[in-house]
């Protein structure tokens, strides 16, 4: 039994609108799993449902073999953490980096806070020079590094990544992707990563799921996608669209 995350028939409903219509998926421990698909197809909702930020209407979610109830306990948050899409919105505007990183440690009652903050900052490549800055004193890439440090500080085994680089420019994106890969290797993390860029998904993930309109379209391995060995039209459209804009007229 080495599934880090297994989801079965997950449904999420917002006032009668079914954002997820019975999605199932399994991620092996240490794997990196990609989610791609149409905008509004429920990728972020899937991550939020796992994290307990939106309630599931039916279906089950199991983390490391343990099925989750409707309420998440503190132990859960030490297993699963999330990095949000928008680095400009995910850091509290009135808190220094130091304070941001201290909060999870205070909630979970860690005593060796000083050392952990130091280590987390080193790990994401931010020296101590950044420790007492406010979010508005950081660039987009630096903010995303802080967000990653915050997610890592509780030493989770599963990281949920919601388009972690879509707000960053190409060179910073490369830096953050390299950082994520290195951390995954070093800490043997499991990734569940949303991205709309197929190139990023094939770069980062071994397996992926294509979603449309709240449903899974198909499950693929990265090499299947690279070799265009796909079965569904929608996936084919995605692949074609990734090649750039083609003027019809």
């Amino acid at each position: 039994m080495n599934a880090a995350l297994s989801i079965d028939g997950l449904e999420v409903v917002f006032d009668r609108f079914r954002a997820l219509k019975g999605v199932s998926l399994e991620v092996k421990s240490g794997d990196s799993f990609g989610l791609v698909g149409e905008s509004g197809s429920g990728k972020s909702t899937l991550l939020k449902a796992i994290a307990g930020l939106v309630p599931a209407a039916s279906g089950s979610i199991a983390v490391n073999g343990k099925t989750l109830g409707t309420r998440r306990d503190k132990a859960f948050y030490r297993e699963v953490q999330m990095v949000f899409q928008d680095p400009y919105g995910s850091l509290h505007p009135r808190q220094t980096v130091d304070r941001l990183l201290q909060e999870p440690l205070a909630i979970h009652g860690f005593a060796d806070g000083e050392k952990r903050i130091q280590r987390a900052l080193d790990e994401v490549g931010l020296g101590t020079g950044f420790r007492f800055r406010y979010a508005h004193q950081l660039s987009g890439g630096q903010r995303q590094r802080v967000a990653i440090a915050r997610a890592l500080i509780l030493e989770p085994s599963i990281l949920l990544l919601d388009e972690p680089t879509s707000a960053l420019d190409a060179s910073v994106q490369a830096e953050v992707l390299n950082l994520l890969e290195e951390i995954r290797r070093r800490r043997k993390l499991t990734f569940l990563m949303v991205s709309h860029d197929l190139a990023i998904v094939t770069h980062m993930c071994e397996r992926l799921m294509v979603m449309q309109n709240g449903e899974a379209v198909e499950n693929l391995t990265a090499s299947q996608l690279i070799g265009h060995r796909v079965t569904k039209d929608y996936t084919r459209n995605l692949l074609r669209a990734s090649e750039g804009f083609v003027r019809t007229a």
């Binding site: 791609v36 905008s39 992707l177 190139a199 692949l239 003027r247």
Partner: protein, 277 residues
């Protein structure tokens, strides 16, 4: 091709506590009824260039230019009232951060309707219909539902498209699109680009397309300006972007992952001080 916008030696400076920040340092270009791309890394001054043209620069900054004219109107000399009238009606800008630019406590639909009604005299019902049509045009499924949602209830891509709908609804002659598609999946991205493309080719709109996705820009735009540290380092035809000469442009192209090319880790930019000179 008639010139819509002329920019000559545009400079944007921020006096800050730690000295003068020169965000834009002498940018010149002209725009006809075409698609002009501006690319460059984060902080290179792309957004500030767009904002200066719009007149949305923060008040503490100073904007200077030898010439900054839209359709013969000298924008820097124009009175505030005239600029406000231009903004939204004749020149529109899709701001970079839809989450920050949308009002968090007002529904998406109402925001679009209000935008329309500040620029045109239309009835409530007609405004609603046009807003719904616009949402549909930007490929939002079930526009009637999304119309009543608040910004936190829509997905990242839907927020971005709502913003685009809001800017297109008044039918501007010139559009500055600042990273308009960064949160969209590739198929919807192409649909949105298709809309912008049609506006350029059919209605003769001028489009400035700001992006850091060089691949997209090279396939979508006619011309591309490459910016670094507030300056234009290269100006070329979009189709020739792949054979760009400047090491910075090549570096930016090189650090993007590509389907079918395994490179671990990805190369990153090695910035040279002489690029900024």
């Amino acid at each position: 091709m008639s010139t819509l916008l002329e920019v000559d030696d545009l400079r944007v400076n921020f006096p800050t506590r730690t000295g003068l920040v020169q965000a834009v340092r002498g940018v010149s270009f002209s725009l006809g009824r075409e698609r002009l791309g501006i690319v460059g890394e984060s902080g290179s001054g792309k957004s500030q260039t767009g904002r200066a043209i719009m007149g949305l620069t923060p008040p503490q900054a100073e904007v200077k230019a030898k010439k900054l004219a839209f359709d013969g109107i000298d924008l820097l000399a124009a009175p505030a009232r005239q600029r406000r009238a231009l903004r939204g009606k004749r020149i529109a800008m899709i701001l970079q951060d839809p989450k920050y630019s949308l009002d968090p406590v007002m529904s998406i639909g109402r925001q679009i309707v209000e935008t329309l009604r500040t620029h045109e005299k239309v009835g409530k019902a007609e405004a609603r219909d046009r807003a719904l049509a616009m949402l549909e045009a930007v490929q939002i499924r079930d526009p009637a539902r999304v119309f009543d949602l608040h910004p936190h209830e829509v997905s990242g891509g839907m927020g971005q498209r709502a913003m685009i709908a809001m800017m297109l609804i008044a039918g501007p002659e010139m559009m500055i699109a600042d990273e308009p598609t960064s949160a969209l999946d590739v198929t919807v991205q192409l649909d949105v680009l298709g809309i912008l493309d049609k506006l350029v080719s059919e209605r003769g709109m001028g489009l400035i397309f700001i992006s850091h996705d060089l691949r997209l820009v090279s396939s979508f735009c006619d011309r591309v300006i490459v910016m670094y540290a507030g300056k234009v380092v290269e100006q070329l035809k979009a189709s020739e972007l792949r054979d760009a000469q400047h090491p910075y442009t090549r570096g930016l192209l090189n650090c993007m992952p590509r389907i079918g090319f395994e490179r671990h880790p990805l190369p990153v930019l090695d910035r040279k001080p002489e690029w900024a000179a």
